[in-house]
């Protein structure tokens, strides 16, 4: 099919070229014009339309079906293209053959047709019974009005110039009746308001029908003129009466329908299907957010419950910023309760899951365990650091998975500086001043660069430290860091890190850590008090308890993200092994961008299953890979496009800022970044002092006080 189309296109172009040569057209002007068209189309119109489509898709309410959205996009793109003609750009007064047509009328006609189709489709859609009743009543009244209008010919005489002909007038009148009916909804005790609103809707429809649509179809210009209004004044009165009558009938019908008052707009909770999400990371929140925006046609809005052991969604890409002291820790967490207003948030950890009974038991921080039923269970429990059984790591190594980790690491690095400042022994001092990061992936590379920036930016507060003694070491087990990136870009990143004075050791693994040194598999050791482990994560231990089939330690899923063998349990994110349809045998990588998209897809699939449709397999290709390499440096790969340096860094910040949930946090992080330009990073230590405890002065003071009292 594609080849046929291409061949067809080439043939057409060839025909045009031959014609151009034979007719002897202007060989400079025409290519110029074509180039202009190309630039205009590909450079301006296409991006505009794509952007608009994305915008409409993002902001348009769920109630607007795909048809309305399509109509909006078509209208705007057609309007953009036709507007210069409509506005008469290029029209020459003394040459009537230039732009001779009435383009405005043509465009309006197209727009009217597009919208009539979209509206007719929208009206025919199944919805709630009250709306359907409204549309049907309106339709009936519309038919009656159209008939009366045809029977009473004399009123038409005044508006003869406005009416296109019986068939069109009847069709438009009937659609109008349905539209009026669709706007009106009966609620008990609001009869008068309904009738008044009906009259108003009638008036509005009069402007649409008699001042716009009918003149258009009749071949006249749309002028909204007073003359047209006066000619069709009788129809204004008729339309208002039509609106009032429609409203009255809707009230009469509505009073007999089951009552849907304001308070019962949301169906009672017992009858709604319950989707229970475990995990408040990108994946889990992605599911909840999508379910908040969409709802199933058959079952309405499902009840969404999210169980999470933290009450905020952590924006992990910025964790290094917290560890490096550029960002405040609260600023990169979005409270779940603020972002998910239609979701019940349960702050607890999962105790057990009973698949047979469809029940889950959770344990809040205090009090009794709670058991909840579900119709669909979504597992998005994420991952935990995997130390691969290496000795000493659990006790001595730092990780970077949570806000607490990041804060702890920052405090630890600054504390090492404090200690080193007063340390006379050079061996011990060097140990305090050496930072080892294990794992040359995204997290490791970003972290080692950021920690270096942190130390150097506060170094001047410690004048006794010798900059030469500061060591930052990145260990990586393969022959190149950042294996996900393009080879050239990864090599460039390695070069940049080394240029910053970071020792990057390749093909070497950490074998163990103790309080004083890190040992490597090549037999060497590094004296250090700071080892950060970013070299391995494993799915949360919970997944092993659930008894599912596992794939590389993660829950084995279908491409629809249904857990293998289960239609009502879904798994996604870091804890799931989701097959990559683009590369058979491979699994999707555990990244935030995948987790977010998987969340949306799982939500849509759950709604599909609730509606009795088949779920869709998930396909997603990584859009971009972004890595920050410390101060105003980074590397970005978008498809085959590679970028590094300041621009890449700016892109990193821009992209992640825009992905940060909530306006407030975006503003706060922007301010943090701005302040970081002007002020040094903070060296305050808030964690209680570790190591040797201070002499207990409280005891001495107490004895003095007792003495005072006794006197």
């Amino acid at each position: 099919m594609r080849r046929i189309l291409i061949a067809l296109g080439v043939a057409l172009m060839a025909y045009a070229a031959v014609g151009a040569v034979l007719d002897g057209v202007n060989l400079i002007g025409v290519p110029l014009f074509l180039a202009g068209v190309l630039i205009l189309n590909d450079g301006i119109i296409l991006p505009l339309v794509i952007g608009l489509g994305a915008l409409v898709g993002r902001v348009a309410p769920r109630a607007w079906g795909g048809w309305t959205r399509a109509a909006a996009v078509i209208s705007v793109s057609v309007t953009i293209v036709a507007l210069p003609l409509v506005l008469g750009f290029g029209r020459v007064a003394d040459n009537p053959s230039v732009l001779p047509g009435s383009y405005g009328r043509g465009l309006l006609l197209i727009l009217a047709l597009v919208w009539l189709v979209a509206l007719a489709r929208g009206l025919a859609r199944r919805g709630d019974p009250a709306r359907r009743a409204g549309v049907l009543v309106g339709l009936g009244v519309g038919v009656a009005v159209a008939l009366i209008g045809q029977l009473r010919g004399h009123m038409t005489a005044a508006a003869a110039g406005l009416t296109p002909g019986s068939a069109v007038t009847i069709a438009v009148t009937i659609i109008g009746g349905a539209l009026i009916g669709s706007v009106l909804r009966y609620r008990p005790g609001r009869l008068l308001s309904l009738i008044t609103t009906g009259v108003l809707a009638g008036l509005l429809w009069w402007t649409v029908e008699w001042l716009t649509v009918l003149p258009l179809f009749a071949g006249a210009e749309v002028s909204w003129s007073l003359g047209d209004a006066q000619a069709s004044f009788g129809y204004l009165v008729a339309a208002m009466i039509q609106g009032g009558v429609t409203a009255g009938l809707i009230a009469a019908v509505g009073a007999r329908l089951p009552v849907r008052t304001v308070d019962t707009l949301v169906p009672p909770e017992e009858t709604r299907p319950r989707v229970l999400i475990v995990g408040g990371g990108f994946a889990g929140v992605g599911v909840a957010r999508r379910l908040q925006q969409r709802h199933s046609t058959a079952a309405g809005a499902p009840e969404v419950v999210l169980v999470s052991d933290s009450n905020y969604q952590l924006f992990t890409p910025m964790l290094t910023g917290v560890a490096a002291g550029t960002l405040s820790q609260q600023h990169i967490g979005a409270p779940l309760r603020a972002g998910l207003r239609n979701t019940t948030i349960v702050h607890a950890t999962v105790e057990s899951v009973d698949m047979a009974e469809r029940q889950i038991t959770v344990q809040p921080e205090a009090g009794e365990a709670v058991t909840m039923g579900y119709d669909h269970l979504v597992l998005a429990v994420g991952s935990v650091p995997d130390y691969r059984g290496l000795p000493g790591l659990e006790q001595y190594a730092f990780t970077l998975k949570s806000l607490a980790d990041a804060t702890l690491l920052r405090e630890h690095v600054l504390r090492q500086l404090e200690l080193a400042d007063g340390e006379r022994d050079s061996l011990r001092r060097r140990r305090l001043l050496t930072v080892v990061v294990a794992g040359g992936g995204f997290a490791g590379a970003e972290l080692v660069a950021e920690l270096r920036d942190l130390v150097h930016s506060v170094r001047r507060f410690f004048p006794r430290l010798d900059p030469e003694e500061l060591r930052f070491i990145l260990l990586h087990s393969q022959d190149r860091i950042l294996p996900e990136l393009d080879e050239r870009l990864a090599a460039h990143a390695l070069e940049r890190l080394r240029a910053k004075g970071i020792e990057v050791r390749l093909n070497v693994r950490l074998t163990g850590v103790d309080a004083e040194e890190a040992s490597l598999d090549d037999g060497r050791t590094i004296g250090t008090g700071t080892v950060v482990w970013t070299a391995g994560n494993a799915p949360s231990p919970l997944v092993r308890e659930l008894g599912f089939e596992l794939e590389r330690g993660a829950i084995a899923c279908d491409a629809t993200m249904q857990v293998r063998g289960r239609a009502d349990v879904w798994a996604l994110g870091d804890c799931a092994a989701v097959p990559d349809l683009a590369q058979p045998g491979a699994y999707l990588p555990p990244t935030a961008q995948h987790a977010l998209r998987e969340g949306t897809a799982v939500a849509d699939n759950i709604l599909a299953v609730l509606d009795g449709r088949a779920p869709t397999p998930f396909r997603f290709r990584t859009i971009a890979l972004l890595v920050a390499l410390g101060h105003q440096d980074g590397a970005v790969q978008i498809g085959r496009w590679l970028l590094s340096g300041r621009l890449a860094w700016a892109l990193w910040r821009g992209v992640y800022l825009s992905k940060l949930p909530g306006l407030e946090k975006r503003v706060r992080v922007s301010i943090d970044w701005l302040l970081d330009v002007f002020f040094p990073r903070d060296v305050i230590l808030t964690e209680p002092r570790r190591g040797r405890p201070p002499r207990d002065r409280m005891a001495t003071m107490a004895s003095v006080n007792v003495g005072d009292d006794a006197r």
Partner: protein, 476 residues
């Protein structure tokens, strides 16, 4: 019919009788009754008028029997009742009874104009009397003491006087000429301000709804004062024929703006207290100020651009872009489009800000949107545009007729804007389905709900009907 309904019908009939006298006697003495009632002799016409008034008053009482406790509702319903009555009785039923064809033509409507004013006045008087006839408990549900009421009245006087002063300073003679000079407009302003706080004594509401109510109130002020009372006080006959009303038309936009400004100022005065001094616990609103304002502005601007684009083509057809371009001293159509879109954004963003969370269904969104569009027709097309082009406000019937395409444009734009904004808001857990609202918020929400179920629809309908009907019928 229940005892309750019978009592309401009786009260309505009494109110209708008073309304009948109130509208009938001036008509009688101005010799307009034969034309209005269709009877040859004036006394017989008065009798017919009174009988109809009593019967319709009874109907009014039954229809509004559950709403008597809310003066704003009843009065706006009275206004809309009068308008409907004109369309149904004067233009439809009466010609049929007299064996003529129904009078839906423009000439017949023009000839029946005195009846429109008579019906409006009748509706208003009947409504006010009906409110006063309500038994004390319904009126006294409000626990305001004397001090509370004097603060309310003071707010009305201050905001009305300030509105009149502001408009007089900004618009100069064009405004002061709607009444007899400065004192006249000051009195008009105070009446508007007092009228507003008496109809809506409860605390702050949204600026947008206040502006819409103010427009309705401004129209009532126009009907009652410059069109009826002032000529009668001067000992003249009622100037209610089409030609005379046309001469009085310039006072209408002025009264509307005055009503809007007085209402908005009164709202802001009571809102200011809340913003500055209210305890955080009483302001347990859902979002922070920054978030909700930004969201409202962005949503409004989105809706504004969409609405603006929607009507670009028709605007081009009408040749509107050339006029707007002159605002910035250009004649180019392209500049006109840009200015038009900028205006759309401003109108949309302001709508988003002022009407945030005020609509609980699509019809309500369209209703508020239409009101906003109409306000901007009066303010923009009739006032700011001519002033911006170096002239003075164009408030004559002829100018309004010439700006009729713009009126339809504003009404359509407003309804599109309102519908889009409603849809955007409905997507994001809207207030009307939020069951767990705290008490302080819940009280405000229930007030909003009551308004949407009660006094808001007649405000929207009155605004749109009056705008279209008067402009079309009064066009030279």
């Amino acid at each position: 019919m229940s005892v309750f309904a019978a009592a309401a019908a009786r009260q309505g009939a009494i109110a209708g009788l008073v309304g009948g006298f109130g509208s009938g006697l001036p008509l009688y003495y101005s010799d307009l009754l034969p034309a209005v009632s269709g009877m040859r002799s004036a006394p017989a016409g008065l009798v017919v008028h009174l009988v109809v008034a009593v019967v319709l008053g009874g109907v009014f009482g039954v229809l509004l029997r559950r709403r008597g406790s809310d003066p704003a509702q009843v009065v706006f319903w009275g206004l809309i009742f009068g308008t409907f009555q004109w369309y149904l009785e004067a233009l439809t039923v009466r010609p049929l009874l007299q064996g003529e064809s129904i009078g839906w033509g423009i000439e017949a409507a023009r000839a029946a104009l005195p009846a429109l004013l008579g019906d409006l006045l009748y509706g208003l008087i009947t409504a006010v009397v009906f409110v006063l006839l309500q038994p004390a408990p319904a009126m006294a549900t409000d626990r305001r003491g004397v001090a509370g009421w004097s603060a309310v009245l003071l707010r009305g006087v201050v905001s009305g006087a300030a509105a009149a002063g502001l408009l007089a300073v900004v618009l100069g003679d064009s405004f002061t000429s709607i009444a007899t000079g400065g004192t006249g407009v000051l009195a008009l302003g105070i009446v508007a301000g007092l009228g507003y706080v008496l109809l809506y004594p409860a605390g702050p509401a949204g600026t947008g709804p206040a502006a819409a109510r103010g427009a309705g109130l401004g129209f009532m002020v126009w009907v009652v004062l410059p069109v009826t009372t002032t000529p009668l006080l001067r000992g003249e006959t009622l100037p209610w024929t089409a030609d005379q009303i046309r001469a009085l038309f310039p006072a209408l936009p002025g009264s509307l703006l005055l009503g809007v400004l007085a209402a908005v100022l009164a709202t802001w005065l009571s809102g200011l207290r809340r913003v500055l001094f209210a305890d955080p616990a009483d302001r347990a609103d859902d979002e922070s100020l920054a978030v909700r304002t930004t969201r409202a502005l962005v949503r409004g601007a989105t809706g504004g651009v969409a609405g603006g684009l929607l009507f670009t083509v028709i605007m081009a057809q009408i040749g509107y872009f050339g006029t707007v371009a002159q605002l910035v001293g250009s004649a180019s159509t392209g500049v006109g489009v840009v200015v038009h879109l900028l205006i759309s954004v401003v109108l949309g963003a302001s709508y988003g800000l002022f009407f945030r969370g005020q609509s609980d269904d699509l019809a309500a969104g369209i209703g508020w949107g239409i009101s906003w569009g109409f306000l901007w027709w009066v303010l923009g097309a009739l006032t700011i545009l001519p002033v911006g082009l170096g002239g003075s406000p164009q408030w004559t019937a002829a100018a309004a007729a010439a700006a009729f395409p713009s009126l339809i444009g504003h009404l359509c734009y407003g309804s599109a804007l309102g519908a889009i904004l409603y849809s955007l808001e409905a997507n994001d857990k809207p207030w009307w389905i939020r069951p767990e609202a705290p008490v302080s918020v819940g009280e405000r929400l229930s007030r909003r709900r009551t308004e949407l179920a009660g006094s808001a629809p007649p405000v929207w309908a009155a605004i749109a009907l009056v705008a279209v009907t008067l402009t079309v019928v009064l066009a030279p």
